[in-house]
Assembly symmetry: D2
Homo-oligomer: 143 residues x 4
């Protein structure tokens, strides 16, 4: 299920152009992905189980379109959802809207993989992952 | 000319995974683009002249591949250069190498446009820009 | 009135020691002071009126005691209130508690002054400020 | 020996007031303390030896006076030195000067203790610490 969180823009979020600095969106979106794993508790639980086996999810690519500068006093509404999946990766779609409007300040696709930390290798999206994250399995079957 | 700067990784740069946090690279790369405009003084001068006319360069897309986690004690070598150009945008290529090796921690393409702040519109890359930034003009002619 | 806001600790907030990094508290406390000016609308309004005259409030000293490391998954409860006042400065007291407990992660006193930006001089806390911020006037009368 | 490092101020360092944001100084000063432990290699070595025994140095108080706003294009010169010592703590003095002038942007005193991580207790500054860090021993003897 899509996660939604809101961040109130303060003086320390903006830069010399008085717009929210580019790097801050990366933090806001990271916050959004944690919010997604909390809202979709089965995903959070899956991450915990995998981590105990030394398997962690990692970002391998971030791709952000900056659309409109947000300013002090704006509230950004961060929407995060699973978007697509391949045999070895999945993509989270994340959007930062200004207030309660449909005007995006930024839109991102974040590509993740699962890594076996001991082997230092990306693993395939396997049965355990698919049974723990049905939405991901669904996208893979469709894909 | 390619700009090179170096950043020593400290405790505050890394996150819960003890790797440099994703958002920090966006800052390191911003630092690299400022370094590029300083090294290539004609570009810095062009930006200053344009700004006086209300024309600023703005990032519209960042696309970063994360390759290898950098840790406390590493020095990241940030290399920044102009990579390609279209009629309304240009792309800076930026790489963060670990120490003096050829092992990239992250590689990025940063797409920029010039915006007329009053009109709030992206402008074409015009004669003034091309004569002030010959490397950009060269890529446009080739392109 | 005391302002209370809450921040969920994420991976990007912590550093090599897996505790919330010192600099982040400075941001959390800045967020808390903005929250105070929103909750106490007469204070926010005063700041706006003063700013139109070129008078801004500025931090001149921050003094933070770090008590206990907060970790990923904790929620910090930031409490912010006016604490004391002198003829030319006032102090905000700020505490970051872990969750809903009385265990402080950090406690701060933030000293502020009002600056006339044109004259580049600190001004006295005058009638306008005192009538716009009765709590501050009360502390001054007591003091 | 006093450590000196320099940081070039970029757009992402400043906030809505176009001055370097308060939290950034905490990072710059953290950078300065790492630089101190590198320059004074015997101190860095001591920290490493202690850490192997589960003893880490930790900041318990930061006290920063903000003197003058630094802006984009400034270079801050961060000077860091050991300042004083007690039986259970030591204080690093840190100053951020604007460029090569004697004008401080900010001045800080950072109080540190040594903590036994297993016992979760502050330890006394003992023989091992004093023999590994003669400057600290000197201040204690004077003290």
């Amino acid at each position: 299920m899509k996660a939604v969180d809101r961040i109130k823009i303060r003086g320390f979020h903006v830069d010399a152009f008085r717009h929210v600095n580019h790097a801050r969106y990366v933090e806001f979106f990271e916050d959004g992905r944690w919010a997604y794993a909390e809202l979709n508790q089965h995903v959070g639980d899956l991450f915990t189980r995998l981590q105990k086996k030394g398997i962690v999810h990692m970002i391998v690519n971030i791709n952000i379109d900056y659309k409109k500068g947000a300013v002090v006093g704006d509230t950004l509404r961060i929407e995060t959802d699973l978007m697509k999946a391949g045999s070895k990766s999945y993509v989270m779609s994340q959007k930062a809207f200004i207030g309660e409007t449909d005007t995006p300040a930024a839109e991102a696709e974040m590509t993740n993989v699962f890594v076996d930390r001991k082997a230092e290798k990306v693993i395939e999206i396997n049965e355990e992952i698919m049974s723990g994250w049905p939405e991901l399995a669904g996208l893979l079957r469709e894909g």
